[in-house]
Symmetry: C2
DNA sequence: AGATATACATATAAGTCTTATGTATATTTT
DNA sequence: AAAATATACATAAGACTTATATGTATATCT
């Protein structure tokens, strides 16, 4: 698990990227997917996730659809057209930021 | 200039890395060096820089030496042995974090 | 003379995230 | 059968970090 200060600021980018690649996802699913894809190194907390999802919905970046699964509620989030554009911008900005940091910190990454 | 939320959490890492490579630096010098090295894409604000430098000093990560240059004060910061160790850890953690994010966001970076 | 650069610093507010708490059902383990 | 864990939503209070604004003062450039 990475220190929280490192992950700060990447939450929106991660959410938007995931929802760009999946038609619809619900909150809990997002936390599990991120945990799985990062081998548990990034674990989103509910206290951070839900307010962010709500804010993105309020801004028209995401839309929701509530479904009953058994007796439980599940709230699916889908990214809008505007949201997809935003996702691309966010990911792109992060890529440039990393290039800058790689240079600044003189890093050698294990990627091709 | 990158959005502030992106840069959040990298301030300490940047400061420690710079001071690991330079015997001594003063606050203003750090802001200028970062601005220069990143082509103005990362500009440290004083409101963030000085409190952080003071905190690092209080924690024994940095030591200071105040010098008079003409009629002006200049406060040099030097990294301690403990600080150098911390710098290595921070940079290393950031490297691993970036590898994780590259995978998670499916990025292609422009580095060899 | 005025603007910009150098050089320190702090205070208030804004923003984001953590921790803790709450509700409720489903499944697995003991 | 009871207890623990997983699923699934959500919010509130506090902590932490950073931005913005402000303050002081000298040096240099136009």
């Amino acid at each position: 698990m990475y220190s929280s200060e490192l992950i700060k600021g990447t939450l929106k980018t991660i959410i938007l990227k995931l929802l760009s690649e999946n038609d619809k996802m619900y909150g809990y699913e997002i936390t599990q997917k991120v945990k799985e894809l990062t081998d548990g190194k990034i674990q989103l907390t509910e206290g951070a996730l839900y307010p962010t999802l709500h804010a993105l919905e309020a801004d028209g970046i995401l839309t929701t659809k509530t479904v009953n699964v058994g007796n439980r509620i599940r709230k699916y989030y889908t990214i809008t057209k505007t949201g997809k554009k935003m996702a691309k911008e966010k990911v792109s900005e992060f890529r440039e930021f990393m290039n800058t940091m790689v240079f600044l910190l003189d890093l050698k990454l294990n990627i091709g």
